[in-house]
């Protein structure tokens, strides 16, 4: 974990630096005697954790947190027990240590920070997985200011006509102001294939192929010479 220390008292900074040195995974990037210097540093550097004093002249620890966007995890260090309740108002604050600091108490705070960071990372990756799995199943199209969900599996054909595309599904057809190129970028390659400059088909829905055309539902779609080899390659031919 990359950390910084912000405390106007030199003795407090020295104690925190000494404690940080006892934890191999903790790297002190810098120590600052005031919040302003800390903000300047944060604007240019990635920091995982801040050890932050509350009582500082002019700019308190809470002022500091209020000022920065998307603050890293914070462990408050203070000689005052009275601010613990205020600390709960901030999601970024993972612990609240009352001075004088001891190694066991410090290690506990570091463990809390590590756990909070792990939770953040896990949360972010599971959100990304959810998003990506949703992108593999469906597509939202803008029709008359409404975003309509279309399941990929239900689409059997997409046809380009001028500035519009027609999306044909088992249930309905949709006319969308877009291009084949744009929608192709959103479609999974595992299901869809461009067979002609004006047509993309869901090749799981193919009924039959005859010469240079393919039957999809009730539509007979031309296959261009340049796209035919890729279609043939994808078929499970006997």
């Amino acid at each position: 974990m990359k950390c910084i220390i912000i405390d106007d008292e030199a003795a407090a900074r020295a104690i925190l630096e000494h404690l940080c040195e006892q934890v191999p995974d903790l790297e002190i990037l810098e120590s600052f005697p005031n919040a302003i210097e800390g903000i300047k540093f944060l604007n240019k550097n990635d920091v995982d954790l801040i050890f932050l004093d509350i009582h500082m002249p002019d700019f308190t620890g809470f002022d500091f947190i209020d000022t920065i966007n998307n603050p890293p995890k914070v462990v408050l260090t203070t000689s005052d027990k009275n601010y613990a309740v205020d600390a709960f108002e901030y999601d970024c604050i993972v612990d609240y240590m009352v001075k004088p600091l001891t190694l066991p108490r410090f290690l506990k705070a570091v463990q809390k920070a590590e756990a909070a960071l792990r939770l953040n990372i896990t949360g972010q990756s599971s959100k990304a997985e959810d998003a990506s799995s949703s992108q593999e199943k469906e597509l939202y199209v803008n029709i008359d200011r409404r975003l309509i969900k279309i399941d990929f599996e239900k689409i059997y054909l997409i046809e380009a006509k001028g500035d519009y595309i027609f999306i044909k599904t088992e249930d309905s057809n949709y006319t969308v102001h877009s291009t084949l190129k744009k929608i192709q970028e959103k479609l999974p390659d595992s299901l869809f294939l461009k067979v002609h400059r004006s047509y993309i088909i869901n090749f799981k829905k193919i009924i039959d192929i005859e010469d240079n055309s393919v039957l999809i539902a009730k539509d007979v779609i031309p296959i261009s010479r340049s796209n035919r080899p890729e279609l043939m390659r994808r078929l499970n031919l006997l």
Partner: protein
């Protein structure tokens, strides 16, 4: 009155004398400045600022292991926020004791 000691610093250093020396050097430099600031604020009748200085001095008191004096400082800080100075002399005694102890420490 209890005496200042190095118990906390020794426990924290776990035998690392370089850290002990560095921390004592910092306290030797920082403590007189903090006391000066507090005294001038008190002299000017700026009790709120004096309370903030007492708050900062509390940490030094705890570093020097003075539990009773720490409790006194907590009360005094609260008093000063209400412009009350009844504990001024007791706190002054604490500061004198600390200063003497710190000045006598060898690096």
């Amino acid at each position: 009155m209890e005496h200042p000691n190095l118990d906390y610093i020794k426990a924290l250093s776990a035998g690392e004398t370089a850290f002990e020396k560095e921390l004592i050097r910092i306290i030797k430099t920082e403590l007189p400045k903090e006391i000066d600031t507090y005294e001038s604020q008190l002299k000017e009748g700026d009790f709120l600022s004096a309370a903030q200085s007492v708050h900062k001095l509390k940490h030094k008191i705890s570093i020097l292991g003075m539990t009773w004096a720490y409790d006194l400082a907590v009360k005094y800080e609260e008093d000063l926020k209400k412009s009350q100075t009844r504990l001024e002399q007791s706190f002054k005694d604490v500061l004198q004791l600390m200063s003497r102890f710190v000045n006598e420490l060898n690096l």
